[in-house]
Amino acid sequence: MKRNSLVLLAFFGCMSLAHARLQVVATLPDFAALTTEIGGEWVDVKSIAKGTQDPHFIEAKPSFMRVVHDADLVIANGLELEVGWLPSILRGARNPKVMEGNPGFLDLGASIQALDIPRGSVSRADGDVHASGNPHYNLDPIRMGDCAQRIADRLGQLDASHSQFYLDKAVAFRKRMIEKTKAWTARIKASGVHQVVTYHKSFTYFFNRFGITSPAMLEPKPGIPPTSTHILEVIRILRDQKVPLILVENYFDPTVTERIRQDLPSVRSKTVAIQVGGDPEIKTYDDLIEKLVQAVESASGRGRS
């Protein structure tokens, strides 16, 4: 019954869109890049967040409501990442097509295998924890391959005339990511870097994929800015465990690492983009992961080998 009505909806959706390009709004630039690759000339893609912005805190600007009002499909990261802003944008957009539960709304987080799912009850005393698990899966090329598949399925559902086109593009992206991940894994292994400290838990999936562990964060708790006592504790961990590298996501203030660099000149500290467009040179998803792998390689030969 439900499936039938979905099919029907999709059918009428296609009738009205037969000659127009699908209007897609992605919440984050990485999903916009993916959709652009999959949809090619048949879709128009816009991203709400910019690569330089913290995706936890995007402002629900009315201009985004205007854009979502005209959208056929909204693609969200999910896992509560957009909880502070996407509901307001969706409500303000007044576009029933893209409301949750309709074919025009795709929550990619709902179908990924999440990491860091908190056990038991969650409390804000632990900072701004994500109760459904870590939402930053965009840095795992394999999971993004799965996302490509889901995006292609949904585009095909909304625009059946090009479904094969979308599917082929998604399969190609996925294959390329599997191949490249093999090469990236080999390079990271060769770099001898096993431990990296970051500002926020944005790298959980990236590290999990490439065999890196993270013994500390610069923020004492998710969403809580670093304190000097916590930085001293991080310095102790960096020294004791001979961690060679600190990566600071580019929307955070990098000056917090100054004290660490003073105390431990051998530790390399780098500010990195973690989304497409976070740096003008990062135009595609491949560029993004390539840059991060290079950042890890830059600490090769430092610390414990």
């Binding site: 910019k50 330089t52 912005q53 913290d54 805190f57 402002e59 629900a60 600007k61 009315p62 201009s63 409501m65 205007r66 009002h69 509560e80 909880v83 502070g84 802003w85 509901p87 307001s88 409500r91 957009a93 007044r94 576009n95 029933p96 409301m99 539960g101 009850s121 969650v122 409390s123 804000r124 900072g127 701004d128 109760a131 459904s132 969403g223 809580i224 800015p225 929307y251 955070f252 203030d253």
Partner: protein, 367 residues
């Protein structure tokens, strides 16, 4: 049917739990948003103030010393695929007593699936300008602008009625809102007749001047009847410039808001003064500057009595605020005000410290 009953009972239980034990409500309500329970959140505003123009009597609602300025308990949930409901109770001191009363500040349902329109029914803050729609915990300063307090009273224009807001098909964001209500405002529209209808309209426009800068311009008006069934009307305009860079946006922002409100209230007209109507208007302009991740510095200037109506002396107020926000859910604000009234020898000074806390469901921030 059974499910609906169950949901209602869960709703009531969590409500009671919420009033008597905020801690419990937090543990009970998943912030996952995956449960059928409504999203529950509570805000409280603790206040200490000392002012030369403020009463020392504890039974006066705004008095010197410590007070619980307000506690708000909010429940929101989608009713079904078509409607969303929101209930907000405000707990605050009852005038003339040291006791606290609980009042439904907002109780409404609104549509979720109408294309281009949002229709809302219930009791809600009317779309008169920008500040009138804010809840106390979201006020840019500890108190509302003078002109809002004088014209609309402590609770603002918050009435029972119906609202329709349409997205206008323009290249920029443009929204037109029309509302009808039964007037019950304590200071402005007090008509006791249920056949007397008040109206509000609001036209909101917003442009992205760049990725970092937005300009909002709004125009609003309202008409209704006073307690003596005399015609009264209000109109207002607002303009806001908001800057938050897309690089380093976590650490810096600047907001400049100006709001003008003008009320004409025929009931107060006196034959001796020769004034056909009694009119009060005023302007408030304020700048909010975020200079570090957790810090805001704000200034406000207000002028009351622009219309040269000599029956009411003009007033000026200058305010300065320093805000410190350890997280999205807590804040401390220190505010100083200087109020000077024309033809009055002594100025009033006030210093106030406010603590703001929110618990429960993650708030969806309005822009």
């Amino acid at each position: 049917m059974y499910l609906r009953l169950l949901r209602t009972s869960v709703f009531c239980v969590s409500l009671v739990g919420g009033v008597f034990s905020f801690g419990l409500a937090h543990a009970e309500v998943s912030i996952k948003g995956k449960s059928m329970n409504p999203d529950i959140s509570a805000n409280f505003l603790g206040l200490w103030q000392q002012g030369t123009g403020i009463s020392n009597t504890r039974t006066t609602t705004s008095h010197n010393g410590f007070s619980l300025q307000e506690a708000e308990l909010q429940l929101t949930s989608d009713v079904d695929p078509y409607f969303r409901a929101s209930v907000l109770f405000a707990i605050s001191q009852t005038a003339g007593s040291t006791e606290f009363g609980i009042e439904p500040e907002e109780v409404f349902v609104e549509t979720l699936s109408l294309p281009s329109f949002t229709v809302r029914a219930g009791k809600f803050k009317m779309a008169l300008g920008k500040h009138n729609m804010l809840h106390t915990h979201a006020f840019p300063f500890i108190d509302a602008p003078l002109i809002h307090e004088r014209l609309l009273g402590g609770e603002g224009l918050n009435e029972v009625g119906v609202s329709a807001a349409a997205l206008v098909p323009t290249p920029w964001y443009s929204e037109f809102t029309a509302q009808v209500f039964n007037p019950s405002n304590e200071t402005f529209y007090g008509s006791s007749s249920s056949s007397s209808l008040g109206t509000v309209f609001h036209w909101k426009n917003l442009w992205d001047l760049s990725d970092a800068l937005t300009l909002e311009v709004g125009l609003s008006g309202s008409h209704g009847k006073t307690a003596a069934d005399q015609s009264a009307h209000l109109w207002g305009s607002d303009i806001t410039l908001k800057w938050r860079p897309s690089e380093g946006g976590k650490y810096h922002a600047l907001i400049w808001t100006t709001e003008y409100l003008d009320g004409t209230h025929a009931e107060l007209a006196t034959t001796t003064s020769g004034d056909a109507q009694n009119r009060l208007n005023g302007i408030a302009t304020w700048i909010q500057w975020q200079f570090a991740e957790r810090w805001w510095l704000q200034g406000r200037y207000e002028h009351l009595g622009l219309s040269e109506n000599f029956a009411i002396p003009s007033e000026n107020r200058e305010s300065l605020l320093l805000g410190y926000f350890p997280s999205e859910f807590s804040g401390l604000r220190l505010q100083y005000d200087l109020l000077s009234t024309q033809n009055k020898l002594k100025d009033d000074h006030r210093i106030a410290l406010q603590a703001v806390f929110s618990i429960g469901a993650h708030p969806a921030h309005a822009y």
